[in-house]
């Protein structure tokens, strides 16, 4: 039996994809499965990164045959591949691409799909087990995916302890025929602080009274750039006229729900909290240890934001430099 993993790359293989490989490789080991992977946008220079991770067979499609980001193009190909392999489980990262693709694929395969799973396991009798959050994570369900095939998307998690000593994957090339596409990609608007809407941003860096003046946003903007984050502001900063009202997060500003919210020099009064109480992880940087925001953040740093924020930017830049 086989597990099929759908990989995703944006310039390089995403962290989510590596995380799915790690989880699937572990499951494959336990269930004595063969691990197959599809890489839609292969970068031949990066092929070596997939060696040893536990993938047995790597399916590559000849470049230009199936355009990236086109679900319409990929769904028929993947359906056929999954059917031919008779895959027991199809796993993908829980990204926008992975989730939408798997939903469509599940319909074609008449299979169940569990989205956004936190973990993947395998019973001794060869059945996949997943842990899926319900009610925005307030409840966790352990699901036993009896029916074959089954699909899961997995949230990224630490890849520590991932397999390194696996085989070099066998590469299978595909040349699918493509019927004319009806849905066309007109444009890809990349993230930049200017373009990310606060309400849609997954990461927000916000400044408050601690910014101290209209000309002091540079440090925050630089951090935004490297994180692909949107720039937010507290009412205090907006009222002081240091930044346009469109950036205001709070009761009377915008209500945001990013995965990560970094509050710099924001005291965190209830009106501000009202705008960001749905944020995932909250980081607070503030000179005043008594600031209210320290009562409801996940990580708090007492200190000068003009020291800490540039330090963060610098280190992230260095790390990113190494990565590529």
């Amino acid at each position: 039996m086989k597990i099929l993993v759908l990989l995703e790359s944006r310039g390089e293989l995403t962290l989510g994809s590596l995380s799915v490989i790690a989880a699937a490789a572990q499951a494959a080991d336990r269930g004595h499965m063969e691990l197959h992977a599809v890489w839609p946008e292969p970068d031949h220079e990066q092929l070596h990164r997939l060696a040893g991770l536990g993938i047995n067979v790597l399916h590559l499609v000849r470049e230009d045959l199936l355009p990236p980001y086109s679900q319409e193009a990929w769904i028929p190909f993947l359906t056929e591949l999954a059917q031919n392999l008779d895959a027991r489980l199809i796993a993908a990262p829980a990204s926008a691409w992975g989730k939408a693709l798997c939903a469509a694929l599940a319909a074609r395969l008449d299979a169940e799909l569990a989205q956004d799973c936190l973990s993947l396991d395998w019973t001794l009798d060869g059945t996949p087990l997943v842990r899926k959050p319900l009610y925005a994570g307030k409840i966790l369900a352990d699901l036993r995916l009896d029916h074959s095939p089954a699909l899961v998307t997995l949230r990224p998690r630490s890849v520590k302890g991932a397999k390194r000593d696996g085989p070099i994957p066998r590469i299978v090339g595909h040349e699918p025929s493509l019927s004319p596409l009806r849905c066309v990609l007109k444009e890809l608007v990349p993230l930049s602080t200017g373009a990310v809407k606060l309400t849609e941003a997954r990461v927000i860096v916000a400044g408050g009274r601690g910014i101290g003046g209209p000309d002091n946003w540079t440090a925050l903007r630089e951090l935004c750039d490297i994180l692909g984050a949107a720039l937010g502001a507290s009412r205090a900063a907006v009222d002081a006229g240091w930044i346009h009202q469109g950036h205001q997060v709070g009761q009377t500003g915008k209500t945001v729900s990013p995965d990560l919210y970094i509050a710099c020099g924001i005291s965190g009064t209830i009106q501000h909290r009202a705008g960001m109480s749905n944020a995932g992880t909250v980081v607070a940087i503030n000179r005043d240890p008594g600031a209210e925001i320290f009562q409801y953040c996940d990580y708090g740093l007492v200190g000068d934001l003009f020291e800490i924020v540039p330090k963060l930017t610098l280190e992230l830049k260095a790390l990113r430099g190494q990565g590529s």
Partner: protein, 254 residues
């Protein structure tokens, strides 16, 4: 033009659902139901579409009494036609089953555009609309933050991790709505009261229980520990920045 909006009632998100005595089901009977917030964007998008292009908008909801509540909420916002799709008795539906049931009805309705929230915030299944697109042979775009129709072609801005894909496609299509696409209207009270009396059409999905049998079993339901692990670094305490770097790396690149 015909537009279908899929709506669902979800338990009031403010309240924590409880686990049933068997440990494998969530008890929702005691909860208040509200219209799924993402579906509100879909309803609003449909109403705006109707306003600019003229359309017959039908809201559909699958289920029993709570489905009627979702339809009434859609009526309150301005929808005029509501269809309750009744699943076979006793069927416990997964995303797969829901899509199969709705596809039965939608095939007859043959809308040009199907709108739905990007996911329902109870089961967070995030798949019914895309499945429907496949069952009906429609194109689809998920988690759309901007939508326009011009000369019979849709332009949809689909959010993804690194930005936005601007997609253009002909009708018929399925679009799921993401926060930010619009600001759903606040219903007026006369409309809310009128919605209580509006007629709801009822249709049977007409599928056998066996066809809809879930392909998985719930082994266990649990409630994660709610407490956040608050970590504070006082001034000049070592490790703060390093800790943050790790966190930022993980959060910003998934």
């Amino acid at each position: 033009m015909k537009i279908a909006v899929l709506v669902k009632s979800v338990p009031d998100t403010a309240v924590i659902p409880e686990i049933g005595p068997n440990g494998v089901a969530v008890v929702t009977g005691h909860l208040d139901f509200v219209l799924n917030p993402f579906d509100e964007y879909a309803v609003e998008a449909a109403l705006q579409m109707k306003q600019t292009h003229g359309a017959e908008v039908t809201a559909l909801s699958l289920g029993g009494e709570e489905a009627r509540q979702a339809l009434r909420a859609a009526f309150a916002m301005g929808i005029e036609i509501g269809v309750q799709v009744r699943p076979p008795r006793g069927a416990e539906l997964t995303g797969r089953g829901i899509a199969l049931c709705l596809a039965q009805v939608l095939r007859n309705l043959a809308p040009d555009l199907i709108l739905a929230g990007k996911q329902a915030v109870d089961g967070d299944g995030a798949q019914v609309a895309e499945r429907l697109a496949e069952h009906l042979g429609y194109l689809h775009a998920s988690a759309v933050t901007r939508l326009a129709l011009e000369n019979g072609r849709l332009t949809a801005h689909q959010a993804f991790e690194e930005g936005q894909l601007v997609l253009e496609m002909p009708l018929p299509a399925v679009i799921t709505t993401e926060k930010g696409i619009n600001e759903p209207r606040y219903p007026t009270l006369p409309r809310i009261l009128k919605a209580r009396r509006m007629e709801i059409q009822e249709l049977d999905a007409g599928l056998s229980d066996a066809r809809l049998e879930p392909g998985w079993r719930v082994e266990r339901i649990s409630i994660p520990r709610p407490e956040r692990h608050r970590r504070l670094f006082s001034e000049h305490e070592a490790g703060g920045v390093e800790h943050l770097i790790g966190l930022l790396q993980q959060k910003s690149r998934s």
